[in-house]
């Protein structure tokens, strides 16, 4: 009986399996139907064949830039989309992954051109006027374009901007919203922008708070003018409703953003949390088909398209084209397929499930090597905006002695580390602004022995320390090939590569240098940084600086160094990294990192080293007042030199970002600082799929 029972049980299992299998086969045919549906409707010419085969044949015909609907672009997200609410996206849910999906749908008065980071009009009709004084205050009157509409047909008006700014202020929205509507005094809640007023539907008047000088670039062009505009007709009632709630902000952020109209290339369409989201082409996109051109004198031109515009900004005159591309949308739909991590996403990419992987950290080196061997893929590599650095606690001895930091800078051989040890996984850098941001980069920073041989830099470092009054029990020495005490030291003799480690190092005031702790993310978190830290330890030991390299949890390092602290003496040195700042005004980051008013101690700012340098403070003040880009650039270059000389940070390296995509996908640009992942909203509407 029992045997028969088992047979019965097995049969039941098989029945269930059979059901699943049959359902699966059904499901396969279902899949093709589902995928072919948008293709066939989207393709302007339908052939006799089935939908799937029709798509590729029709694709080449749709190369006319104004024509939308050339297939579907599928891209992988390596983390979940967590909201479809634009308000929430820019505050509590400001993850890059949310930005990938939501970022393109909202217009702003002015935007940055990619890849050259020029300020160009978006909803504004012309370049920003200079601020004029009106009594104590500074004002600007900005005309808006007529004819721009939201995807539900409502016009984009000055009222949308006013509504957005008022909402930021009334609901006290945080994070990114603050940089669009900055505080003058955060404690008191006063804002720089005192009044925002729509004179009519297409004219805006901005009134800044009273001050002696006109607000600089950071506040004006790179601040309030780049604020996104949200559709008042969609949100007004919701915001009003939320104002009545106990926590209006939470209420607003919790609202489902489904159905919000877009004025960007695409409209948010479907979302299956944890699985995928999709956006569809916006047929009413104002800039559809417009061609953007940047000339080598940074003249910018936007022309053509449905709007029929032809506008040129900048000096004009040059005909040498730096970059040029046409605006879309070219694909009918973009599907963001969510994967739990980059490994899964790249595997899906390899299998052909997705055309591209939106991965903020780029293609990891191992994956790259594997993909290089695959046919039908295209690559681009770009420098990243961010950098990894070694920070010193300037509140403690001997880190507060310039020579100490400079000597370390001499012995840290970044070229050797990056090119030999890390085999090209990092790019050695000497300034915070990456070389690729050519407009703001300066080469005139102190590179501390770059390109000089190991022994010689070592000698330079020792000399520097000696000059500063450091002493040793056993002096550190780079041995030479024939270091014969009888003969006089010959400068021409080569270094043997053997070193006598310094011992018993004492500071100029005679104190023994204590063991210094170097906090670094562990090899599990970032093998690059931990490897570099290990080597810094090796080099430090040679100089007689006892460095204890301590792989430490990221959160622990941040906790020790960043939040408001009593004395800030809990650490000596640490290695962390910063992501990109604002490439069109990079030195605002410098102010945040090194400004005396940004000290982590007490204030809880980002100036962890406790850098307080009069020259830098003066530069910082000047930077706040700069109203032209040229002016700001000069100041920024000086800041870079100041930092590279005084070394509150030793900038270590940045990483190249590799992008890879399936041939047949065409991006408007591929050479851009930070790679394709840095500004996906600038190209997601322009991407073409020809296969």
């Amino acid at each position: 009986m029992n045997t028969r029972n088992r047979v019965l049980r097995l049969m039941a299992v098989f029945a269930a399996l059979a059901l699943i299998v049959s359902a699966c086969t059904d499901d396969d045919s279902g899949t093709t139907e589902a995928t072919s549906a948008p293709t066939t409707t989207a393709a302007p010419t339908t052939t006799d064949g089935s939908g799937t085969t029709a798509a590729p044949t029709t694709a080449p015909e749709t190369t006319e830039p104004t024509e939308t609907g050339g297939g579907v672009f599928t891209t992988a997200l390596v983390a979940d989309l967590t909201t479809n609410n634009f308000w929430a996206y820019l505050d509590p849910e400001s993850s890059v992954h949310n930005g990938y999906v939501l970022g393109q749908s909202h217009p702003a008065l002015y935007t940055l051109s990619i890849p050259d980071f020029l300020l160009v009009p978006g909803t504004a009709a012309e370049m920003p006027p200079a601020l004029a004084q009106e009594g104590e205050n500074w004002v600007a009157t900005i005309p808006l374009r007529e004819g721009m509409v939201w995807s539900d047909g409502e016009p984009v008006t000055a009222g949308d901007y006013v509504f957005t700014m008022n909402t930021i202020k009334d609901l006290e929205l945080g994070s990114n919203w603050i940089s669009y509507h900055p505080f003058k005094d955060a404690e008191a809640g006063t804002r720089w922008l005192e009044n925002v007023e729509a004179i009519d539907d297409y004219t805006l008047k901005l009134t800044f708070a009273a001050s002696d000088n006109a607000p600089g670039l950071a506040l004006y062009q790179n601040g309030v003018l780049q604020a996104p505009m949200l559709p008042e007709h969609f949100w007004a009632d919701i915001v009003t409703g939320c104002m009545a709630e106990e926590d209006p902000k939470a209420c607003l952020y919790a609202t489902d953003g489904t159905g919000e109209p877009s004025a960007g290339t695409d409209i948010f369409s479907t979302w299956e949390p944890g699985a995928f989201a999709s956006i569809v082409a916006n047929p009413d996109y104002y800039y559809a088909g417009v061609t953007y051109t940047v000339f080598d004198d940074l003249t910018f031109n936007q022309a053509g398209g449905a709007a029929g515009i032809d506008e040129t900004y900048g000096p004009g005159g040059s005909t040498e084209i730096l970059s040029q591309y046409a605006d879309g949308p070219f694909v009918s739909e973009v599907i963001y397929s969510e994967y739990g991590g980059q490994d899964a996403a790249y595997l899906a990419f390899l299998e052909g499930d997705v055309d591209y992987v939106l991965n903020p950290s780029g293609v990891p080196s191992g994956r790259r090597d594997q993909l290089l061997a695959e046919p039908g893929l295209e690559f681009a590599v770009n420098p990243s905006e961010g950098f990894r650095y070694l920070a010193f606690n300037l509140r403690k001895s001997p880190m507060n002695i310039d020579a100490f930091r400079q000597a370390l800078a001499y012995v840290i051989d970044k070229e050797f580390l990056m090119n030999s040890v890390l085999a090209g996984a990092g790019i050695p850098i000497y300034s915070l602004v990456p070389e690729a941001n050519a407009a703001w980069y300066t080469d005139e920073v102190n590179k501390w022995g770059s390109g000089i041989a190991e022994g010689e830099r070592f000698d330079m470092a020792v000399q520097l320390l000696k000059d500063a009054g450091f002493t040793w029990d056993v002096e550190p020495l780079a041995q030479r090939l024939e270091d014969d005490p009888d003969t006089e030291a010959d400068e021409s003799l080569e270094y043997s590569g053997v070193f006598t480690d310094g011992q018993g190092m004492r500071t100029p005031d005679g104190n023994l240098v204590p063991e210094l702790e170097l906090l670094t993310p562990g090899p599990g978190y970032d093998p690059l940084r931990s490897t570099v830290a290990t080597w810094i330890g090796v080099w430090g030991d040679r100089l007689g600086i006892p460095i204890d390299v301590n792989p430490t949890d990221f959160n622990t390092i941040v906790d020790l160094t960043f939040p408001p602290q009593e004395d800030g003496l809990g650490w000596d040195m640490y290695i962390l990294g910063w992501g990109g700042g604002d490439p069109s005004l990079p030195c605002t980051s410098h102010q945040a990192f090194f400004g005396a008013d940004q000290d982590a101690v007490g204030f809880g700012g980002f100036n962890t080293p406790g850098y307080n340098n009069a020259e830098f403070e003066a530069l910082s003040d000047a930077h706040d007042l700069a109203t032209t880009v040229e002016e700001a650039r000069g100041i920024c270059n000086d800041m870079e030199k100041n930092i590279s000389e005084n070394l509150p940070y030793i900038v270590l390296f940045s990483t190249p970002l590799t992008d890879v995509w399936r041939a047949g996908v065409e991006f408007p640009i591929t050479d851009v600082l930070g790679g394709l992942n840095a500004y996906p909203n600038a190209w997601v509407g322009q991407v073409k799929v020809t296969e």
Binding site: I178, A275, S278
Partner: protein
């Protein structure tokens, strides 16, 4: 018996409060806070304070603790930090069907396979086959799980391409789906729970029958009926292709999870069976002339079942932990993955909410074990 159970429940409730407190203190003691996730030179440092205020991180530890505990027992798990202003509960509810589905399937599969094979192993003790299977079982039991999962992906998804590699559904196929994935998951979980429940009811009702023949008949028709309804439901449901898509994606993680868990069950069953087979009552049964198969299934397996049932119920909490690895490797966004992200990003409410849920599950499991024991082992009934 009721008194016994209520005493246990009271003990458990007290334990749970201690557990929550401990969790809270542990998570609070972690370095860094959630605001550290928002270090950005483009955003003024003052924003950090705003975030701390918004999340209540400025209240001080005991203030936060008091708020948390009082809210917890009014059913408010608080607001998730990383998904602000979503409540923790909403975040968990979004994830739970996916995890539930994954591990109800894996658990049922693993216990079914494990118990049957463990029983056989003990019965056929000493053979070469037993040796091989035991070694294989130990290998599976101690295998480095993430690694094993990778190898499974490599074999079944990357090389043989029988199953999809990751995600829990095919986005293309679901673009125009009239159902949300959650509703499909829920339907699938309910139907499988009902099948198991139905089978249990059939088993119990049949067991109550006095005549052996009626028992057999009832059991057979009952099973056919239960499976029949299941098959009929899904055959007629318009959700079927979507459920099939999810099932197709779930095969690999379920099988992998089941393989790992199966080995443990098998080893436990084997040990338990071996001990049972040495009992005198097995000799009695043989002396009574009871056929071997019945000795194995009725006399030995029934007694050997006790530790297996214990491990089954107590293991439920473990599976969520194991799910953490599974979900990460197979990129299946469920509770385990949520827990991992919450813990690593200092999202205290979400982390506690998830851990508390697991803890509550484990506690309930403890009580269920006690009650199940009351039924399975008559020796305990008296003590209660």
């Amino acid at each position: 018996m009721l008194g016994y159970i209520s005493k246990r429940v009271a003990q458990m409730a007290l334990l749970f409060v201690v557990f929550l407190t401990l969790l809270f203190l542990l998570l609070q003691a972690q370095p860094g806070d959630f605001a550290s996730q928002f270090l950005d030179p483009r955003i003024p440092a003052a924003n950090q304070e705003l975030i701390r205020q918004r999340l209540g991180l400025d209240q001080g530890m005991w203030g936060q603790y008091w708020t948390y505990i009082t809210n917890f027992f009014t059913g408010d798990l608080g607001t998730s930090f990383m998904r602000y202003p979503k409540t923790v509960w909403a975040v968990i509810v979004e994830r739970i069907p996916r995890t539930m589905f994954l591990f109800t399937m894996a658990t049922m599969l693993s216990y079914w396979m494990g118990f049957l094979s463990g029983k056989m192993l003990a019965w056929r003790r000493g053979g070469k086959l037993e040796y091989g299977i035991t070694l294989g079982g130990v290998f599976l039991y101690t295998v480095f799980y993430p690694w094993f999962a990778l190898m499974m992906i490599w074999l079944w998804a990357a090389t043989l391409e029988i199953v999809p590699i990751n995600q829990f559904l095919t986005p293309d196929f679901w673009l125009d789906s009239p159902f949300s994935a959650t509703s499909v998951f829920t339907a699938m979980i309910w139907s499988s729970v009902l099948v198991v429940g139905g089978l249990l009811v059939v088993q119990t009702v049949a067991g109550r029958m006095k005549e052996y023949r009626t028992q057999v008949l009832l059991r057979r028709t009952g099973r056919v009926l239960v499976f029949g309804i299941f098959v009929w439901y899904w055959a007629s449901s318009s959700m079927r292709p979507f459920a099939a898509d999810i099932t197709h994606h779930a095969v690999l993680p379920v099988v992998t999870l089941a393989f790992i868990a199966f080995a443990g069950v098998m080893l436990i069953t084997r040990g338990s069976m071996l001990e049972t087979l040495r009992e005198d009552y097995i000799l009695t049964a043989r002396a009574k002339g009871v056929p071997d198969r019945i000795i194995r299934d009725k006399h030995a397996a029934r007694n050997a079942l006790l530790p297996v049932v214990t491990s089954f119920i107590l293991g439920l909490a473990f599976i969520i932990g194991g799910g953490l690895v599974t979900e990460t490797v197979f990129s299946w966004p469920g509770m385990g993955e949520l827990l991992l992200t919450a813990v690593t990003s200092n999202d205290i409410p979400t982390a506690i909410g998830t851990l508390a849920l697991i803890g509550a599950l484990a506690l309930i499991a403890h009580i269920v074990v006690d009650i199940v024991y009351l039924f399975l082992d008559p020796r305990i009934r008296v003590q209660g």
